[in-house]
Symmetry: C2
Subunit: 176 residues, 2 copies
DNA sequence: AAAGCTTTGTACCGATCGGTACAGACCATA
DNA sequence: TATGGTCTGTACCGATCGGTACAAAGCTTT
């Protein structure tokens, strides 16, 4: 249910995701929808954001922080990210929210997502041998590179562009 | 007039920019608005996109392509971009459109903007001594870095993050 | 001042927005 | 089979959506 909801928000943004679109995408009528989410659209978006954050925490952040091998955790991140964003055919819901007017209403979730990612990646980079400042800068660069590549890939309608950008980011970490 | 319109689209997205918001931001009533833009919201957005494209063509793309000194053209780009996006406090309207459902309706303008930018930057990089493939890859990285930094800066509500990212991109081109 | 154009405010249109009310369907326990 | 709670489809709410109609206001030209 939450994944389907997420696709609607991802595709149309928070304001653009009308209840009509949501009922069509989920197959649920308004009755069921407001039974499951008494808080309406805002609650739906919040739970979707929480679910996404949970997925990344489990599949990306935790391996970055706790994996025995830092390089392996980073490599796993790139693989997971490429799969999650369907090689650039899918867009980052948190990024969409961050750019739009919805950012203010969901600022905690939006800020928390990128902050946790950046922290986890920086930690892995440190364990991989980078200095404190190098790790922080590089992790910001990598996150920005990913988000920007999603924008460019979607603007050009060219999924290969995303995978290419991801490969170059990985190479930059490995040391070119 | 177009700049004010642009701010509304930039802040609320295409769908979110209601005529009420537009009349408030521009001070024009519906009568005047539909007299100036008989094509309605879609025409407003198209003219705003064209104006932005024109600005970047004049202030960024042309100097990159035609400037006698390639390095100077690139440095000028970074300065112009930092000023245009108000050091990350402002967001890229074309990027917002690219991520949203409006992309399909304005695909030509969205695609053209990033394509022209990428081409112009790659050309300057070639003239600055990079190989053909290096220039193409690097220009994609720089554009993605800029767009991604806008997302991150807005998510973190931290304008300094954008300027920092811009500095690192410039350093990467200069050769670190 | 008269005539003819451009510009503007306002009232209004049908459609859709997010959200609510509620009766009935469903389903488990007894 | 009766009962009580969980779901769900539908009708409806006021507000707002993008857009239109049009008359009055302004401004130019004669």
């Amino acid at each position: 249910m939450l994944p389907k909801l997420g696709e609607v928000f991802r595709t149309y943004g928070y304001e653009g995701a009308s209840l009509t679109l949501i009922t069509q995408a989920t197959g649920l009528g308004k009755g069921s929808l407001y039974h499951l989410f008494p808080g309406g659209k805002a609650q739906m978006a919040k739970e979707v954001l929480a679910e996404i954050d949970g997925w990344f925490e489990r599949e990306v952040f935790a391996p970055l922080r706790d994996g025995a091998d830092a390089e392996a955790g980073i490599a796993h991140m790139f693989k997971a990210v490429d799969a999650y964003f369907r090689s650039g055919r899918r867009v980052c819901l948190v990024g969409v929210f961050a750019l739009g007017a919805a950012r203010d209403e969901f600022s905690a979730a939006v800020h928390g997502y990128f902050d946790a990612w950046c922290e986890a990646l920086a930690q892995a980079l440190r364990r991989a041998g980078f200095s404190r400042s190098e790790a922080m800068e590089l992790s910001e660069d990598v996150l920005a590179g990913i988000q920007g590549a999603l924008v460019l890939a979607r603007a050009a309608d060219d999924a290969k562009m995303f995978t290419r950008a991801l490969k170059r980011l990985a190479k930059r970490i490995a040391g070119d």
